[in-house]
Subunit: 310 residues, 2 copies
């Protein structure tokens, strides 16, 4: 099968097309014909060796996938051949999504939202599950929850704003002036231009703050939370000082790494099918141009997802 | 750490104590101090090389575990150090439960039922999730469902009877005369002594049949299902002829392999804490006697679970 592999850690050029063996699904797994695979910042870090989660090369990167079930191992009942599915298999262990086929545990897949094509569905799992697990699992966001999303125009942020709104929360977001209209269009009740306004003066008594930005956003967010409120961070998860300061102030702390889980994928799919959530894709490139996709992700100049078509 | 490993496929004697490196949990994972690990028939098959799921030795067997969270990798919020947890990590890939420590993805764990000790909690995941995924996920068992469980006194069967009853189903079970009282005590509304009575004459119009026995139980079960009812089998999952015959008769077919999933573990824990489900443990042995535990499992003469204490 066609795939993108690498023989060493390094710059985007280490990503090269190869003809590899098709993976054999084990019991509990299905074989998915990948139609689209998104490229995430974590992919670039693993490629470069900055985050060597999946051991030494050679390996095949790629967690965010959307495709069609090609083969079901007997014993799996959740899917049938021909089902359209999406997911983030095996993260953070080796998965191999930059390829024509990938073997996936059935409980790490869900049905693709019917109103998304494969390109948009592939853009959803990693960023969408990060937002879901931050807001729903860690934040308990529901009707009436007061939520502040830092970086409401970003990859995780734009999905978080939509998810929080869809669940009935009052949603405040920080964003640049250039993104204010975009973020308002996602459903934010209030958008704070972080360059013009100090958010600590514009927001107070919040139940949940989700920080996707980092720097001093975390420490400064403690004071805008109500007592018992929760600071959820997807950037400062290992920041012990931030954790201690949050707890000392009588607020809760949740540092998030996204985890594969069908429950969140199903929840996201339902919101997408209800028209409440939609991921933003900026570029699609063919699989063979994976190196160029990594350059785009690393440029820091993209606003939406970069997706490879397979 | 103390562990049981094997250098080759073979008889129970290949299982030997060893001093191994403690596993390092990755992001999304916790390190669990194992207190108990159950021994399942699949363990014995993998040990012998009959079902080489996890590659070539050396490896550490053991999926069913109960223990205490020793370390939480930053980014995991579902558990804290000291939490009592249980699960079936990584099945059917390598997990390594016959050991003092095991690294486990957080979404493959749930809180241990408060009213079970570690020995009984370790006895629950593989058999309990098999029953849960058969009845709840594949069978849709709920209040008023008419269910027949073949082998109601067995490892999966005795949990299936309790789960179905707890969900409000009308539960019929086949069992030997010797186990009839045991199965009735689990809550079965009707127990059919399979040697004295032909179950096809004693049961009809069923919504769900769960077959844990095999042989001709599968084919003969088709006729006792109502049109549209489902034959769930944990033994004939790859039996294409049985599948075809079931579909040809206008019934549905679901062959089950158990899959790691926190949802079922949480559901089981709730039923256990409500007093509705309890696993049956027959023997406990210290970890060092893993070979003897495998002999007991392979003897075919045990009725309840064999559990290693660590």
């Amino acid at each position: 099968m066609r795939a993108i592999t690498q023989q060493s850690f390094g710059a985007p050029e280490v990503l090269v097309p190869a003809d590899l063996e098709q993976p054999q699904p084990l019991p509990t797994e299905v074989l998915v014909r990948v139609h689209a695979a998104a490229v995430n910042p974590v992919d670039a870090m693993v490629r470069a060796g900055a985050f060597p989660l999946i051991g030494q090369p050679p390996f095949v990167l790629g967690w965010d996938i959307s495709g069609v079930v090609e083969e079901v191992v007997p014993g799996v009942t959740r899917f049938e051949v021909g089902d359209e599915v999406y997911g983030m298999p095996f993260f953070p262990r080796a998965a191999g999504g930059y390829a024509e086929y990938v073997a996936v545990p059935s409980r790490q897949l869900a049905r693709k939202p019917r109103n998304l094509d494969h390109v948009h569905a592939a853009a959803l799992p990693l960023a969408g599950l990060t937002a879901w697990q931050s807001l729903v699992d860690a934040g308990g966001v529901e009707v009436g929850t007061r939520v502040l999303v830092h970086g409401g125009g970003g990859g995780v942020g734009h999905l978080a704003v939509q998810i929080a709104k869809a669940r009935g929360a009052h949603v405040i977001a920080t964003a640049s002036a250039a993104k204010a209209e975009f973020v308002r269009g996602l459903g934010a009740d209030e958008v704070i231009d972080y360059r013009a306004v100090d958010f600590t003066e514009a927001a107070t008594d919040l139940d949940v703050v989700l920080d996707t930005v980092g720097g001093d956003y975390g420490p400064r967010s403690i004071q805008v939370l109500r007592p018992g409120g929760v600071l959820v961070t997807v950037v400062g998860r290992a920041d012990t000082a931030l954790r201690e300061a949050t707890l000392a102030a009588g607020r809760r702390f949740a540092g998030i790494t996204v985890e594969p889980d069908h429950v969140g994928l199903e929840g996201l799919a339902a919101l997408v099918e209800a028209g409440a959530v939609r991921p933003f894709v900026e570029h699609t490139l063919p699989l063979a141009e994976a190196a160029e996709a990594h350059r785009l992700v690393e440029s820091g100049r993209t606003q939406g997802k970069i997706v490879l078509t397979v």
